[in-house]
């Protein structure tokens, strides 16, 4: 019987394998070390990811790749998003066939996306036109940013054209957002279970319970949208996935911050790292406007 829309055993194994690898190569200590050294890309980590097939995941085996498809790539990027792995992962993954060394993690590839470039200075290759590029003091300590044209553009009409970015890049971004959404839900629940006030865990209060429930609901609806888009690769499904995943990650991180109370507002807690990264990712691929317009066009036919 079909509509077997569930993870296969192989996909579960891949998911567990990537989580285990990232736990080993980029655990919490490495995360905080990266925060302390902004802008520095860990080449050893990059090669380890390359060695594990992260960038060559979708290259055919004949070309030295792993020979897997979009669903598997989505699962891997979900894990990377969850672990907040820094670096231009998607640009390098997408360049695996075209740029020598990208597949193995020897070459770090960044790419211009609209008016922004992530990781420009640390990359070996930058794809796209970088004329007039200038650094930005990035809101996310784990994502150095450059701005094309340097200065803020005059307010102009919102771009409503067809999606200019590779839909696969948008999908993989949605997968990363899904990883953050699921992780911030876990962090909120952990905190709500252990933090006590008024003589009981704050998770026993319905106001807190309902914040946590909404965290799960948003991440689970985003999950099916992202997974389905990975199966169909339909640009409309991808647009839907990105809208739901952005919502799940950004609102999820904010609610997680709220559940953490004062600690959530500190540099020490990891919550802000998720929120800031979610904001950076939400900017990619033309932002939500592009996806909303694409879906609206499909609707009105």
């Amino acid at each position: 019987m079909s509509v077997r829309f569930q993870l296969t055993d192989d996909q579960r194994a891949l998911q567990a394998g990537v989580r285990e690898l990232l736990g080993r190569c980029f655990g919490r200590e490495a995360l905080r070390a990266a925060v302390a050294a902004p802008g520095r890309l860990d080449r050893a980590l990059w090669r380890a990811l390359g060695g594990a097939g992260f960038f060559a995941l979708r290259l055919p085996e004949a070309a030295g790749g792993v020979g897997l498809g979009l669903p598997e790539a989505v699962l891997a990027f979900e894990e990377a998003g969850r672990a907040l792995v820094p670096g231009p992962l998607i640009a390098t993954h997408l360049a695996a066939a075209a740029v020598p060394g990208a597949a193995t993690g020897e070459t770090v590839v960044a790419a211009v996306d609209g008016e922004l470039v992530e990781w420009l200075a640390a990359a070996d290759r930058v794809l796209g036109d970088t004329a007039g590029v200038a650094p930005v003091r990035s809101i996310d300590p784990l994502t150095p940013l450059h701005r094309i044209n340097g200065t803020a553009p005059a307010a102009g009409p919102v771009r409503t054209g067809p999606m200019s970015t590779d839909p696969v890049a948008v999908l993989l971004t949605a997968a990363e957002q899904l990883g953050t959404a699921a992780r911030v839900c876990e962090l909120a629940v952990q905190h709500a279970r252990t933090r006590e006030q008024f003589g009981r865990p704050i998770g026993a209060f319905q106001a807190v319970q309902h914040l946590c429930a909404d965290l799960l609901v948003r991440s689970e609806i985003a999950r099916v949208a992202v997974y389905a888009a990975a199966v169909t690769a339909d640009p409309a499904d991808i647009a839907a996935a990105r809208l739901l995943a952005d919502e799940a990650a950004v609102r999820g991180a904010r609610d997680c911050l709220q559940v953490h109370g004062g600690m959530g507002f500190t540099w020490e807690a990891d919550v802000h790292l998720h929120l800031k990264r979610a904001w950076v990712r939400a900017e990619r691929g033309g932002g939500s406007t592009q996806s909303e317009e694409l879906l609206a066009v499909r609707l009105a036919g």
Binding site: V3, P201, G203, Q206, Q209, A239, L295, A296, L299
Partner: protein, 377 residues
């Protein structure tokens, strides 16, 4: 992960489509929503048509995927809804099938499948809504009968039902969940008063049912005395993820109709409205995927995990209200005119975050049973 159907499923779909195209034009005109006897006759007639064509048991015997296809295709084709057959096919019938004796199954199941008898549900009470286990309608044994007194509320189709699946308290001293019994009450028994309740949408979609020493034969008890809570939970978990298939298909169609209406009346030029529709389209696409996900989970695991069902309920009920709020924006000032399309639907949508477990109850369930947060209150 796979979203394709097997050749057998595709064949089922093709045959069903062909049959629907043939049979739907032959149906009588839809009755007025206020004419309950006509609605009963129409809904039973459709069930008989399904039965004669071999589709009567699709809710019971078919795989979840086959049922998904059935519900999707009947909605697409504009076939009648399950209507008055709802409780019989989706609650009482499955309960009897799972927990009834051979005699009870033989007595009650065939008339449900053949479209001969209508069931209603007597679960909620004025003081037992979200807290169903607080129900107080009493039943005590008198010879071969139970004698039942109390009142039920939100009972759909009570005016035209033949049977009521009734939850009664048979042991007031036992812990709340252990003193409840499941009875099949004949609706023509003495002592039953049905008072229709008018909804805010103006129609009488359900009723209050008052029970004054109604005699129900003890042989109409399904399951053991005081085991009714467990018997009922079998019913409530029956639908296996397909309860809202037709509605999601319908909402997606409405969304398209609204977009085209907005294009015609010029409101589509407003980017705020357009983007809102883009978001709604994303939402309903995702709800369809969640339906497929839940059905697949039921297919492999035998039941829908609570996560899938609660996530769906919370998102869908809200999305449906958003959909008809967007409809109001397409209509402009016409949104105040009850004769315009979608205006009544907007009113009806207000029940979705309340019926079958309020959003607040659902969130508490998610928090305590799925996320494992400590029990509150």
């Amino acid at each position: 992960m796979d979203l394709s159907y097997t050749p057998e499923e595709e064949e089922f779909r093709a045959r069903l489509r062909e049959w629907l195209a043939k049979v739907l034009p032959t149906l009588p005109a839809k009755p007025s929503p206020d004419d309950w006897p006509a609605r009963r006759a129409y809904d039973l007639g459709w069930q008989r048509t399904l039965h004669d064509a071999g589709y009567a048991e699709v809710h019971w015997d078919a795989s979840p995927t086959t049922r998904l296809i059935f519900l999707e295709e009947t909605e697409r084709a504009g076939a009648p809804y399950v209507g008055a057959n709802f409780v019989g096919l989706l609650h009482a019938g499955p309960t009897i099938a799972a927990e009834g004796t051979a005699g009870q199954r033989a007595r009650w199941l065939p008339p449900i499948l053949r479209g001969e008898e209508v069931w209603c549900q007597g679960f909620s009470e004025p003081d037992a809504g979200s807290d169903l286990a607080a129900l107080r309608t009493r039943a005590w044994r008198d010879g071969d009968d139970y004698v039942v007194s109390g009142s039920k509320i939100w009972t759909s189709h009570a005016e035209v039902a033949d049977w009521c699946e009734l939850l009664v308290r048979t042991d007031p001293d036992a812990p709340r969940h252990r003193g409840i019994t499941w009875l099949a009450m004949p609706m023509d028994a003495d002592g039953i008063t049905v008072r229709p309740l008018r909804t805010l949408a103006g129609s009488a979609e359900f009723a209050e049912v008052f029970l004054d020493e109604v005699r129900v034969p003890a042989g109409n008890r399904v399951g053991a005395e005081n085991d009714g809570w467990r018997v009922t939970m079998v019913t409530l978990s029956f639908e296996r993820g397909t309860a809202f298939v037709g509605e999601v298909v319908a909402c997606r169609r409405v969304l398209g109709e609204l977009a085209r209406a907005a294009r015609e009346n010029g409101r589509w030029d407003d980017p705020v409205l357009r983007r809102r529709f883009g978001r709604l389209e994303a939402e309903f696409r995702a709800l369809w995927r969640l339906t497929q996900w839940n059905v697949s989970a039921a297919e492999t695991g035998g039941g829908v995990p609570g996560t899938g069902a609660s996530v769906f309920k919370l998102r869908y009920s809200h999305a449906r209200q958003e959909l008809y709020d967007a409809a109001a924006d397409v209509l402009g000032p016409d949104r105040l005119d009850l004769d315009r399309p979608w205006v009544i639907d907007r009113l009806s949508s207000l029940s979705y975050t309340i019926a079958a477990g309020t959003s607040q109850i659902q969130r508490t369930i998610v928090a305590e049973r799925i996320l494992g947060l400590p029990r509150g209150r």
